[in-house]
Symmetry: C2
Subunit: 213 residues, 2 copies
């Protein structure tokens, strides 16, 4: 952890964590004073200044409770993104709606992901996988896949594509082969789909998979 902090500073930092976890808003200087048994507000202020210098927090002057926790390297932390869960998908079955749904509000559910998990990307959505047709990609029934919205991709990437003619969306590995496209299921027992390049529209690229046991 951090060894460049005094006991009091460590105690303040821990109190900050707990207080924010409890209230979802930061404590005032006097809250910290009471919570850490500190004798004076100026001592709190003094140590907060040190913590800010060392990159553990950020403060806005003149603003009450304006303390933001950083990760010790001066970077922001604890932030989640509500990722829309657009529906279920099996390799072959459609997503409920061709997802222009994103910008609208036409999804029922969201899951919270951290920036770590989305890689800081903003155009992400999630799908719940049904069936075990993607077993070779280590994705099982019930898993959630997180996709980055895109309309292009490289060969071999795992993408959700919309088949215009069939009007359905499916999760496959994408390979361009001249004028046509090979969509490879991630299950050795299933055969690839071949279709004209202009029949497919890439919807998103898989960036993360999450499984609960």
């Amino acid at each position: 952890m951090a060894d460049d902090l005094s006991l009091k500073q460590r105690s303040i930092l821990q109190f900050l964590e707990e207080f924010i976890a409890d209230h979802d808003y930061p404590p005032s200087i006097r809250d910290i004073q009471n919570g850490c048994d500190i004798s004076s507000t100026s001592v709190v202020d003094y140590n907060l200044k040190r913590l800010e210098e060392k990159g553990y927090i950020r403060r806005d002057r003149e603003v009450s409770r304006a303390i933001e926790l950083l990760n010790g390297q001066g970077e922001r932390r604890r932030r989640t993104i509500a990722v829309p869960l657009l529906g279920k998908i099996a390799a072959g079955r459609p997503i409920p709606t061709p997802p222009d749904t994103l910008s609208a509000g036409g999804y029922e559910d969201t899951i919270e992901l951290t920036e770590e998990q989305t890689g800081g990307r903003s155009n992400v959505f999630a799908l719940r996988v049904e069936g075990n047709s993607m077993i070779d990609a280590l994705i099982n029934d019930g898993d959630i896949v997180v996709l980055e919205q895109t309309d292009t991709c490289d060969d071999g990437e795992m993408v959700a594509v919309w088949l215009k003619g069939e009007n359905e969306t499916t999760l496959k590995k994408f390979f361009r082969e001249g004028e046509r496209v090979r969509l490879q299921p991630m299950n050795a027992t299933m055969s690839p789909i071949y279709t004209a390049a202009d029949n497919v529209a890439v919807q998103g690229r898989v960036v993360t998979a999450i499984r609960s046991l």
Copy 2:
């Protein structure tokens, strides 16, 4: 979404989201007033009261910036837990330290997970998987497994166990067979380990696996 809200209330709610995302602390009433082009603080207060009645926010009286976003059903939202990343593990290689490390602060890194992902459990830790010795459990090199700390488990559960004699920790499926224990690797090409029941100490049960692509 919500259709029981006035335009102004919706605007306030959205401003709250953006402000908190920007600053990590909630806005004051006057911040909202400016941000939403509202003419008076009392109008903001009035609408905040309505929002609180309808379960979209929670407020602490007399406390500045004490606005907590709820999910519309009166439940809290957006909360992450810093889960300690204790080290790397391969089916067979040890965790750096036999994890009493947990309560101390002897880990280098943490990952942020949402309560959704930890299932609300508090005693969780994470390990990064090395090698593909757990491929049959759909866990690959580089994946992160999240474990719930426990010292008991049922047959067939995927657990981290500490082998006292060998002084190493490994990730296996656990089967009790009379006086001995079978530790089954999750790779068909690898053989199970048989050892005395009192030689194994269960460290944790796998609850989630996360893969980034």
